[in-house]
């Protein structure tokens, strides 16, 4: 149909996913099947219940009914609480440790219930942002499936019984005593550890996390001869090279790297154009970092050390001459390497090379070496000494320590094992047989949030307190400490790790509060009679600020890399073997290492790249799929030695060939109903010798197939005849390179295809008062999903479940659209957040028969849920499809407790009504009322932050009053890159985009 094909004016052609580019036989067969009848609908919506039920703080429903209406009781407190206003929200600071990193948070609470997580602007690793996982962690506290009982041998027991049992333990010198915890980020716990090890000199304490940064530290030890914490200063770097490092995504549980990186990805003024940085990514799986890279090279994990070595050699950091691995000068790797070397050289001190946690120590060391040779060591990457408690010689950490522990356990040397959090029976490498080893331990005690695989295997299980309900403290890698304060008493009476240790060693303080407070009071200097008062003040200040002031400044270490040692280590690295398929292991963007598997918000948050929800898959490249003759959804057996796993494959354009990547954290066998048996358990093939990636896997089809619940594919079927080029021309995401932008700055507007329509009616003029609008910068947006989950949390958006997602009924008010660009084998990705556009001439409003959605004088597209009858006409007529319909009662199966997470300022929508983004109108109204109440002043610019904007680690979303020329949003909308999607429909969207800019290396352009 060349006659009708569209010639796209600008830039790359978009295609949405493989089934559009490839016309697979399986799909054609599917197409031919007329109306495959679906089984009757499944109501597996795991979601939340109406607020009314939950005002437990002040209301309680009574059974009586009066003649005219049911009697509602008001149950006020008996004793008044000072300065406490029922129904108002309060913010408290705390900190969340995860995977060896700490993020300071502010928690919004209503009537004593934490309802929303926000970043703490005062905390250096948050700077106000919070990641998707942090946003979702608030749901975890209300998880009805959390462990609530002490278990002895799987039978219900009690704390007194447990305490008695602990007392009865004869630990003597502790030779049979072992502690197993995650990475200890808590100074006070570390102190307790020291006490414990002092009391039981022969005891050992092992820190193990299935997803940690051990290689990084090992790298520093190798490079500098001492363990150091590296801190990449992305905002200082002009050229960034990420060697298998997903610092914008899975490699950082804190929003900081994105915060810093995006500072150099924002063009708000002319001079910014020259400040914009350039990112090279060398990786195996398509990661967020790869998606945001200006140049991306697909290499298997095992090939990256060689690449790093070549890079170092090319830069003269390593002795010797550059040996080109690859097939001649035409090879992309070679070109890439060449261009990169030039670029890095020219960037000099503004260059930054980082290695990912998956890469061995030598690669990290190489990275430091390269930075040193470029002179950027100390500018774009700085180092701090680990805090005192971390350099404790007795502290064993990492895989080796864990392996040793497992060996001790299975050889029966361990009589008492205290597992402080985590789920090692599930997360340990398959070859260590941890569960078996655990059965050999006479007294195994498991402190955990869930009654999980480990709880089942351990003798004792003690419910752990969620971080939002426990006193504690944290020290970030940057050295900054923060107090972790509870928002609510432990719902299920859990204990903290510190309390457990204190109990075990019978320490002075046994309550978490005393442990933490006294620890810090002792840290702070204070003499004289008012010392106590001063310390108390410091304590309060620390709680208030969310950081402990005295720990803020940590001096940077000036260290230099020992090139010879590094060279030796590099030389010692095993060379990649060609045989078989390489399998790489990654933390899941949703379940992380499995600990969030029972979190509905995370399960339903689409993976930033694959858009996969409710499960994982073995990602393989299209070429590999062709070679192995596999198609999307085929279940294959991945096996190596005596480990094997059945998992469904998913074809991932741009994935390294002859390799598969699979996310950890799925296929939980003992978990709440949300995470139970969702996805495939990659730990089954993760062995200590194939820890991050292992070669020589065989991949064999089983003949079985599996249906992925993706939010952007939704069973759309591969086009027949009409090839996917067809909608390529659609100027949805508009992008250009810096050069193009400098040539025609108005490229975004010019991209518009169709001549604009005009209304037969006079345009309604919005020029009074506040006129709300939003600008989304596609250049800085990384597509990390934080906004999606933040919105879900702020607006009580239900979770609908896998089946409903497959039917295309997920509810996210702001969604992250992902488009592939370019060749199937090696494409690039653009991400685009799509909230409601708040069109001034909203097509959805016109068609609503009952005027349930109308326009506010401030330009909001109001939605009155209580008026909606649910004809879904507005959904049909919304060009952006950002309206979401409650097809079923998605709150039906909620346990009461799950509803406590609801934001009382937003009504919970019932079945049969339409819902949509309203720019967080509840926040707008709150700000308006506050402004009026204190002196009838005007709302300041930036006073209102929508949930998505507030949490965005890239500061890509700006909301404000477009009627105020001074506001940030008006300034952005004045930019030449500003464009409105589908503006040609004369709908006048209030949400506009700043077109995406890429900064490719001209050398690699050709």
């Amino acid at each position: 149909m060349s006659l009708i094909s569209i010639k796209s004016k600008t830039g790359p052609k978009y295609w949405r996913s493989l089934d559009h580019l490839a016309d697979t036989p399986e799909f054609r067969e599917w197409v031919h099947r007329e109306f495959p009848v679906s089984a009757s609908e499944m109501l597996d919506g795991k979601s939340r219940r109406t607020v009314l039920k939950l005002m437990a703080a002040s209301f309680g429903l009574a059974g009586l009914t009066a003649c005219r209406r049911p009697v509602e009781h008001i149950l006020p407190n008996v004793a008044g609480i000072e300065d406490y206003i029922p129904g108002a929200q309060y913010y408290y600071s705390t900190a969340m440790p995860l995977g060896g990193q700490v993020t300071g948070l502010l928690i919004e609470t209503h009537d004593g219930r934490p309802t929303k997580v926000e970043g703490n602007p005062g905390h250096p690793s948050s700077l106000g942002a919070a990641t998707a996982i942090q946003q979702a962690s608030v749901l975890g506290i209300y998880d009805p499936d959390r462990s609530s009982k002490v278990l002895e041998g799987g039978k219900e027991s009690s704390f007194p019984k447990f305490e008695a049992a602990v007392k009865a333990l004869s630990l003597a010198d502790g030779s049979g005593l072992r502690f197993l915890s995650g990475l200890v980020m808590s100074p006070s716990l570390s102190a307790l550890r020291a006490q414990a090890l002092a009391k039981f000199p022969k005891a050992k304490w092992v820190e193990y996390e299935p997803v940690a940064r051990d290689n990084e530290t090992a790298g520093t030890t190798l490079a500098f001869g001492q363990p150091l914490y590296p801190h990449a200063q992305y905002d200082k770097a002009k050229v960034v090279v990420a060697l298998d490092s997903d610092f914008l995504g899975l490699d950082s549980t804190a929003p900081l790297p994105t915060k810093l990186f995006s500072k150099r990805r924002r063009v708000h003024a002319e001079e910014d154009v020259d400040k914009i940085n350039r990112l090279y990514a060398v990786e195996s799986q398509f990661s967020l970092t790869g998606a945001n890279a200006d140049h991306r090279l697909r290499l298997r994990g095992s090939e990256i050390p060689q690449f790093a070595a070549d890079l170092a050699t090319g830069l003269g950091a390593l002795p010797g001459t550059l040996v080109v691995v690859g097939n001649g000068s035409g090879d992309k790797r070679t070109k890439f390497l060449g261009a990169m070397i030039k670029d890095l050289k020219s960037a000099g001190t503004e260059a930054l090379v980082v290695a990912g946690a998956r890469q061995p120590a030598s690669v990290h060391a190489l990275a430091y070496l390269i930075n040193q040779s470029l002179g950027s060591l100390g500018t774009t990457i700085t180092f701090t000494k680990p805090p005192a408690e971390k350099v404790d010689p007795n502290a064993l950490s990492g895989l080796e320590a864990f392996r040793a522990l497992a060996a001790e356990m299975s050889s029966g040397q361990v009589s008492t094992l205290v597992i402080l959090g985590g789920n090692p029976a599930y997360t340990s490498p398959a070859d260590l047989q941890f569960a078996v080893a655990l059965s050999k331990v006479t007294n195994s005690i498991h402190l955990g949030l869930e009654d999980d695989e480990t709880a089942a295997a351990a003798k004792w299980h003690v419910p752990e307190a969620h971080y939002l309900e426990s006193w504690g403290d944290t020290r970030a890698r940057s050295g900054v400490a923060a107090i972790q304060q509870p928002m609510i008493d432990p719902l299920y009476g859990g204990r903290t790790a510190a309390e457990m240790v204190a109990l075990l060693i019978d320490a002075k303080d046994k309550k978490a509060y005393d442990i933490v407070k006294n620890y810090w009071l002792n840290q702070w200097p204070g003499a004289g009679k008012d010392a106590a008062a001063v310390k108390e003040k410091t304590w309060r200040e620390s709680l208030n600020a969310g950081v402990i002031a005295s720990t803020k400044t940590v001096e940077n270490i000036k260290a230099s890399v020992d090139a010879k040692k590094v060279a030796a280590a590099v030389a010692a690295e095993p060379k990649p073997v060609a045989a078989g398929v390489e399998v790489g292991f990654y933390p899941s963007a949703a379940a992380w290492d499995g600990r969030f598997a029972n979190n509905g918000w995370m399960q339903e948050a689409p993976d930033p790249i694959t858009k996969l929800t409710w499960g994982n898959a073995a990602m393989i490249s299209p070429a590999t799929a062709r070679a192995q003759n596999l198609t999307d959804g085929d279940i294959v057996t991945l096996s190596r030695g005596n480990v094997k796993l059945e998992a469904a494959v998913m074809i991932q354009p741009g994935h390294a060939d002859n390799a598969a990547s699979i996310a950890l954290g799925y296929g939980r066998e003992r978990c709440g109903p949300v995470g139970q048996d969702v996805g495939f358990n990659a730990y089954l093939i993760r062995t200590s010798d194939a820890y991050w990636f292992g070669q020589g896997f065989t991949i064999a089809p089983t003949g079985k197939t599996h249906k992925h619940a993706t939010t952007q594919e939704h069973g759309t079927i591969g086009d027949q005849g009409v090839n996917a080029e067809h909608q390529n021309g659609r100027p949805v995401v508009r992008e250009a390179t810096l050069e193009e932008y400098k040539k025609h700055p108005k490229f975004a507007e010019e991209a518009q295809e169709v001549p604009a329509l005009e209304s037969i009616y006079p345009q309604v003029i919005y020029d009074k008062g506040y006129q709300w609008g939003m600008s989304i910068d596609l250049t800085s947006c990384t597509g990390c999903n934080a906004c999606v989950v933040a919105c879900q949390s702020e607006n009580n958006i239900p979770v609908v479940g896998k089946d409903q997602v497959m039917r295309g009924r997920e509810m996210h008010w702001i969604r992250m659209d992902r488009y592939y660009t370019g060749a199937e084998d090696d494409p690039t990705i653009v991400e685009q957040p799509v909230p409601c556009m708040q069109c001034e001439n909203a097509p959805c409003e016109n068609v609503c028969p009952v005027a349930a959605t109308t326009h506010s004088p401030e330009g909001l597209n109001d939605m009155a849920y209580n008026r909606c009858v649910g004809t879904r006409y507005c959904l049909n007529n919304c060009p952006f499809k950002v309206r979401h319909f409650n097809f079923l009662n998605f709150h039906k199966h909620d346990p009461d407790v799950a509803g406590l997470v609801h934001n009382p300022d937003v009504s919970v929508r019932m079945r049969g009504v339409m819902e949509k983004c309203t720019y967080c109108v509840q926040r707008i109204e709150e700000a308006r009322i506050n402004a009026k109440v204190d002196g009838r002043r005007a709302i300041k610019d930036g006073e209102i932050k929508t949930a998505c904007q507030q949490t965005c680690p890239a500061d890509a979303i700006v909301f404000g009053n477009i009627n105020d020329p001074a506001s940030r949003v008006s300034a952005l909308k004045k930019q030449e890159r500003n464009y409105a999607m589908l503006a040609e429909l004369d709908i006048r969207p209030r949400t506009t985009y700043l077109a995406k800019l890429r900064n490719p290396n001209p050398e690699l352009q050709a």
């Binding site: 009616y761 345009q763 409003e845 326009h855 004088p857």
Partner: protein, 199 residues
């Protein structure tokens, strides 16, 4: 007594009158039957020429021409329909204007609060709806229906009037009415089964 009282035209009328005990005042009229519409029309015209004014016919279907023949005036229903129909138009426009612009003025999709363009469909429909009701109810009203009983039904063969017979009626309140003569007149124009029907 609800049995139809008929009188054959043979014999002396006075005697009949006395036997039956009915006077002209208690008579509804005289009815005769025809078997074809055109016969009815012709006969009707003749009877009219004799000067009768209160004439009616009862037929199984609308016989064209009978109205003129019997001098039945044109139907007024058209006027009823058009006036009520216009009420419908007005109702619709007022409703839309009041709802959109007065009762709760809300900006919807950037369209005006009230505009002729988007009022057309509803206005048209309401006009039609009102007119239809006017037509049907008006028809029944003008015909004095529903009415379960009517003296003409006392005619022995009135049930044939909905089947295959065409009846001609001379009503008793016709100034020129005289039971005996009218019977004769009907016979003279070829009516069969002529009967004096009691009121």
């Amino acid at each position: 007594m609800n049995t139809t009282q008929g009188i054959t035209t043979s014999g002396d009328f006075a005697e009949i009158k006395e036997r039956l005990g009915i006077g002209a005042d208690k008579v509804y009229g005289v009815i005769g039957a025809f078997s074809e519409p055109d016969e009815l029309v012709k006969a009707g015209r003749k009877i009219k020429e004799m000067g009768y004014t209160k004439l009616d016919a009862m037929t199984p279907f609308a016989v064209h021409g009978i109205d003129d023949a019997l001098g039945i005036p044109y139907s007024k229903i058209g006027w009823i329909v058009i006036s009520i129909g216009l009420c419908g138009t007005a109702t619709a426009l007022l409703l839309i204007w009041w709802v959109g612009a007065i009762n709760y003025p809300l900006v919807i999709g950037g369209k005006p609060l009230f505009d002729f363009t988007f009022s057309i469909p509803v206005t048209f429909e309401l006009t039609v709806l009102f007119s239809a009701f006017a037509a049907v109810l008006g028809m029944l009203g003008l015909n004095g229906l529903p009415r379960l009983y009517h003296p003409s039904l006392r005619y022995s063969h009135s049930h044939r009037a909905t089947d295959d017979r065409f009846l001609l009626v001379i009503e008793a309140d016709d100034p020129k009415f005289d039971a005996l003569q009218s019977v004769e007149h009907l016979k003279s124009v070829g009516a069969a089964a002529v009967e004096v029907v009691e009121g």
